[in-house]
């Protein structure tokens, strides 16, 4: 009985995944070429996830256990000013991994009292101004393209964060912080 229950909850959790997987299999049956290409891209992304995601989560676990909330608030919380903004940009830009890896990090930041504005800056930096990707962008699209994009994106990320943190009601922010608290 107990095992049955666990099975059911696992299936419920992975329901969306199973639906899309079935879609992929049907696609492969209809058009083998596209199906196999999709499978090979998926395999590539899966490898990327397996390579990059475990260290990110382990670092998160360590951060959660070792770094006191007061320290995080001091450096990145409300009133951390320019220091907080620069730190958020730096951590986001230095990070490896796809954008979806940034959201769990943001959740731990919320738990540790990092300000909402700095979390948004961090997400923005993670998504666009990645140091590991910058050289690669220069070689593929040219220095003019890459440097211009970086110079426009840096202030852009900060402006978007300021605008968002101004227009989002405080109650909404409080709600997602409470949710992050409840995750672990």
């Amino acid at each position: 009985m107990g095992g049955d229950c666990i099975m059911k909850s696992i299936i419920r959790k992975y329901r969306a995944f199973l639906v899309v997987l079935t879609g992929l299999l049907i696609l492969t049956l209809i058009n083998q070429k596209i199906g196999f290409k999709a499978i090979s891209v998926t395999a590539y992304s899966f490898k990327e996830m397996i390579m990059v995601i475990p260290p990110i989560f382990l670092l998160l676990g360590l951060l959660d256990v070792w770094v006191p909330k007061e320290t995080m608030i001091k450096y990145m919380g409300e009133g951390s000013g320019l220091k907080g903004i620069l730190l958020s940009i730096f951590i986001g830009s230095a990070a490896a991994g796809p954008l979806y890896g940034a959201f769990p990090v943001a959740a731990v930041f919320m738990k540790k009292g990092v300000s909402f504005k700095n979390i948004l800056i961090f997400i923005g930096a993670w998504s666009t101004t990645k140091i590991p990707m910058f050289l690669f962008e220069i070689t593929s699209l040219g220095a003019k393209f890459a440097v211009t994009r970086l110079l426009v994106d840096l202030p852009g990320v900060i402006i978007i964060a300021f605008v968002l943190s101004k227009i989002v009601p405080a109650s909404e922010v409080k709600a997602i912080y409470e949710k992050a608290e409840a995750i672990e």
């Binding site: 969306a16 995944f17 899309v20 997987l21 992929l24 199906g35 290409k37 999709a38 090979s40 891209v41 998926t42 395999a43 590539y44 992304s45 996830m49 390579m51 995601i53 475990p54 260290p55 990110i56 989560f57 382990l58 998160l60 676990g61 360590l62 959660d64 256990v65 490896a96 796809p98 954008l99 979806y100 959201f103 769990p104 943001a106 959740a107 731990v108 923005g124 666009t128 990707m133 690669f136 962008e137 070689t139 593929s140 699209l141 040219g142 393209f145 211009t148 994009r149 426009v152 852009g156 402006i159 978007i160 968002l164 989002v168 909404e172 997602i176 949710k179 992050a180 995750i183 672990e184």
Partner: protein, 160 residues
């Protein structure tokens, strides 16, 4: 890149283990729980990206967002960029290929910018942490911002 990340993580884990075994165990347990919590969404995103990249045809895209397609091309490039989420190592060569295929710089600027900042496919992951309203607002703002990026890139690359 990955090697560095692993080296840092492992040495910090080791340091943590030397200092306090119980805390280290707790950190690993928390890491696993956080991962397990979001894994279903991750898997959906990965599958979606695979299907999208396979279905989308680069030749057709470079025709739609050609250098004379103007702001309509920018809009189309932004829409395509917003749906798909391609890892950078694939995105930049793809963009270079599109440029060679006749796409314009302004349009590619919009494509790359939305590709990285706006994620329709990753919405379920983002909503799980940020809620619906903030997620939609962030993506819409980033979408609008991408037009600005496109304009500047188009101007810099062609005029300067």
């Amino acid at each position: 890149m990955n090697a560095g990340l692993y080296a840092i993580t492992l040495s910090l884990l080791l340091l943590s283990h030397i200092k306090d075994k119980k805390k280290t165990k707790m950190a690993i347990k928390k890491a696993w729980k956080a991962f397990e919590n979001i894994l279903p969404e991750f898997l959906v995103v990965i599958l979606f990206v695979g299907i999208l990249i396979a279905v989308i045809n680069p030749e057709i895209i470079s025709k739609i967002i050609g250098s004379d397609s103007g702001w309509l091309g920018v809009i189309l490039a932004s829409i395509v960029g917003s749906i798909t989420l391609i890892p950078g190592f694939v995105a930049f060569p793809t963009a270079a290929m599109l440029l060679e295929g006749g796409a314009g710089y302004m349009q590619i600027g919009a494509f790359i910018s939305t590709l990285m900042m706006v994620g329709v496919v990753t919405l379920p992951v983002e909503i799980k942490y940020f809620g619906k309203r903030i997620t939609f607002m962030r993506n819409i703002l980033a979408f609008i911002f991408s037009f600005f990026v496109a304009g500047i890139i188009g101007w810099v690359v062609t005029v300067l």
